[in-house]
């Protein structure tokens, strides 16, 4: 059973990797192309929900004011949600007519997603034709908005995602996230080039306000409002795009505790979104997105849950057996030589060849992610771990998230946790 599951997971993973490489091969020249400057300069509202972000909000606002987008077309709304620190004071310190501060207070215990709730509260105050929702710790590159806005000339575009990178990673955990964000951004761009992008980062997304109003704003009952809104827009036949050169830097999760909470939330949110938009799965009306991309993205976590459970069970059983052997006959075991021929003979070639191919494909995608996102290769050890161990850790989080869902853990963002 375990072997079959591992085969299926490897097959699907390898297929996806080869598929994205094929897309890259055929679409490579187009994916980092930007639309030329035009007379299309719509009004844009930058909406920043903030919960105790006194430490970062100042830098974020300064980066927004430094953008090369016409100031008369830009307004910034900071929604200070139940803040108990100096977030509001920090916002007031920055003197600009473009910035508006809204302080809101509500009973957080009754709302699953306070960020989405805060966004909805501020939406009526947004005057822009386009609304950008961004994290309060994001540092925006000066031309980010100018690169994204022209894409909205297509009336059917409902959402454009940016490139999100981890800012100055220091620890191994942050470096691993740096690789993860880099490859995820690149894959998202490939998905967008194929009109099948449905997962975006919530750190900096630009929406058409009319599209947001059409779908009734953000769902505050889900843990991942960014995924939910993208699917909701696609369900209403709006297009989702992305831009590689519009770069945003965010902080990585510094501690394992916050990393754990974030991954559980993302994966739980993913399962919930898949169930909520199940009518899109295998639905011909949504073309390649409904017939291929969503089903395969839904199937992969389920397969991973099965594979990870089986692998963990098998590892535990072997560990128990191994410990018994080592305890009883450790020294004999260590003295028993293993020849090279025996090592080769005991290798499962049926599994080894696709695994090597998968790692090569992953490396190729990562190499191209560096190239297209204009990053120089760095952190070799973290890179190696990202391609191997980290993938297993991420896979294990699907199992953890499913357990949280099955055992009915309360859906709520921890108050002490950042957005």
């Amino acid at each position: 059973m375990l072997e079959i599951l591992v085969y299926v997971v490897s097959f699907v993973s390898l297929f996806l990797a080869i598929f994205w490489i094929s897309v890259l091969f055929f679409e490579g020249k187009k994916i980092d192309e930007n639309l030329p400057d035009s007379n299309y300069v719509p009004t844009v509202t930058m909406l920043i929900p903030a919960y105790n972000e006194a430490e970062t909000i100042g830098s974020t606002l300064k980066s927004l004011l430094a953008m090369n987008y016409p100031k008369d077309k830009l307004d910034i709304i900071v929604v200070a949600n139940n803040c108990i620190d100096d977030t509001a004071d920090e916002v007031r310190k920055i003197e600009s007519d473009n910035i508006k501060l809204i302080e809101v207070s509500f009973d957080k215990s009754k709302i699953v997603n306070c960020k989405a709730h805060a966004q909805n509260l501020a939406l009526p105050y947004a005057k822009g034709e386009l609304v950008t929702v961004m994290d309060a710790d994001a540092i925006v590159q000066e031309n980010a908005l100018k690169l994204i806005v022209p894409i909205f000339q297509d009336e059917n575009i409902g959402l454009v995602a940016s490139s999100v990178k981890i800012k100055d990673p220091k620890s191994l955990l942050e470096k691993l996230q740096w690789f993860e964000f880099l490859s995820a951004t690149f894959i998202r761009r490939l998905m967008a080039s194929f009109s099948v992008l449905f997962m975006t980062s919530g750190a900096f997304n630009v929406y058409r306000k009319s599209a947001l109003e059409m779908v009734g704003g953000f769902d505050n009952t889900t843990l991942t409002e960014d995924l939910d809104i993208a699917l909701h827009l696609l369900q209403n036949f709006k297009k989702v795009q992305s831009n590689l050169d519009a770069v945003i830097h965010v902080r990585g999760m510094k501690s394992f505790k916050s990393f754990h909470a974030q991954r559980v939330r993302w994966n739980r949110g993913f399962f919930a979104a898949m169930l909520k938009y199940k009518d899109m799965i295998f639905n011909k009306r949504y073309g390649f997105l409904g017939q291929f991309m969503i089903p395969i993205f839904f199937a992969v976590p389920i397969l991973l849950v099965g594979a990870v459970s089986s692998i963990m069970y098998s590892l535990a059983a072997n560990l128990y057996k191994g410990l018994a052997i080592l305890t009883e006959a450790g020294r004999y075991f260590m003295n028993t030589p293993t020849s090279l021929q025996q090592s080769v003979w005991t290798t499962n070639m049926q599994m080894l060849v696709p695994t090597i191919f998968l790692i090569l494909c992953g490396s190729f995608i990562l190499f191209n992610a560096h190239k297209y996102l204009k990053e120089t290769p760095k952190y070799p050890i973290a890179g190696l771990l990202f391609l191997t161990v980290y993938q297993f850790v991420l896979s294990a989080y699907w199992l953890v998230a499913l357990c949280y869902e099955l055992f009915g853990a309360k859906k709520i963002w921890r108050y002490e946790q950042r957005w």
């Binding site: 085969y7 097959f11 390898l14 297929f15 080869i18 598929f19 094929s22 897309v23 055929f26 679409e27 187009k30 967008a192 080039s193 194929f194 009109s195 795009q241 073309g287 390649f288 291929f292 057996k321 018994a324 052997i325 009883e328 006959a329 020294r331 004999y332 075991f333 003295n335 028993t336 020849s339 021929q341 025996q342 080769v344 003979w345 005991t346 290798t347 499962n348 070639m349 049926q350 599994m351 080894l352 060849v353 696709p354 191919f357």
Partner: protein
Amino acid sequence: MVDDTKYKQYLFVTSLIITVVVFCAGTALGWTLDNFKANSLLDVVKQNDLNAESFALESSFIQGFGGDYCTILDERVANLQRNIITTGKDLSSYGGNRKTLQESDFDYLKRKYFLLEARFLLLLQNMEKSCGNKYDVAVFFYKIDDASSLVQGYALDELRRNHSNLIVLSFDKDYVDEPLIGVLLSMYHVTDAPSVVVNGKTLTGYSYPEQIEKFLGNKVNSTSS
């Protein structure tokens, strides 16, 4: 941006074909390696078979025409012992990773191997009658996927390294395809695994090397090459 459905289908199908090809390549390589393993093992088993037959004939000749029977026997025993150890290890590594399609091959090899061991055991007994008790013989009965049997195997390997005149012959206790195993079990009164029969004395359950050593009669007089 790409919207052409046929183009998307083309990419989808191409990627699927490449993935299938990679998996087939892996499977083909695995099967080729399995076949290679099976064939090389079969060659070794055949060679061992031939050696045992040649040895039996040689013994008859020497007994008929005269000669230094025991010296020749010593060389033969050392040679056969080495072959049995190597074949056993190869067979066990092959067995741990074989695929369903090679089940019959593996079964055949395993049976051949047990028969070879049984023949060797018989030769050792005949030798003992003619040349005296030169070797310690441990007949090891194991169970597959049993931690104690695995531990016992490692312990016997260790003993063999320290006692050059110890010959270990291993048999799968539950291997019912070969009736000879049943005969051995009954002959040595073995009911469970792991069990080790050392110079005729049956030790049931896991036995520490120190326990086994008590029954080794030729600790000092090591003569094997």
